[in-house]
Point group: C2
Chain length 116, copies 2
């Protein structure tokens, strides 16, 4: 009979918390882990943009982009600001930027380095 040693040693309180954090993190990562949404965030990392601008960048339908933005809003990765008819999106906080920077470092920096 194999003993569930590690499980017990860890102590349920600590493990519980670890699991809780993992769920929070995976929720955020799920929002990030979509080609278009990741592109949206990269563009927004530069500066705030209107929905129309984002549509043009991605070359996707308005309703599709709007839906993806809604998802990012729900998961609190972006915030909005209204100016007349147009709505401007931007990154919601520094946490998002941190993760995004790490992703950028891993996947995009090598490209730059190669170019120098």
């Amino acid at each position: 009979m194999p003993l569930p040693k590690l499980k017990e040693i860890e102590g349920s309180a600590e493990l519980e918390q670890m699991i809780e954090k993992a769920r929070e993190a995976s929720d955020m990562l799920k929002a990030l882990s979509h080609e278009s949404r990741l592109l949206l965030l990269c563009i927004l990392a530069e500066s705030e943009k209107s929905v129309t601008e984002l549509e043009q960048f991605l070359g996707e339908r308005q309703s599709t982009v709007s839906q993806q933005l809604a998802r990012l809003r729900l998961d609190r990765l972006v915030t909005t600001r209204r100016d007349g008819k147009t709505i401007y999106y931007s990154l919601a906080n520094e946490d998002v930027r941190k993760i995004l920077t790490a992703v950028y470092d891993v996947f995009c920096e090598p490209v730059r380095r190669r170019r120098r």
Copy 2:
């Protein structure tokens, strides 16, 4: 008729590359963005572990854990080493560790800070 300005200004070459990188990154993030898989990686970030150890940590069935590990292998987030009957898993490279560290900083560091 609205003009697709930004799309053209960006230049297809650069944009193409950005899209390519976004797809690579989102593929990796998809693998990460799963509660159990993220936990697995966090545990592996500490040190290599056998499948049995991982099962005990997560309290999940062998086949489930093995399936998640297979996914992580496919997406090249982990590597394996066999020693007799047991197979040891560990993080595949520094890129994975970088992303994982960023996620950890955002979601787990605050907890530690609060405790001090």
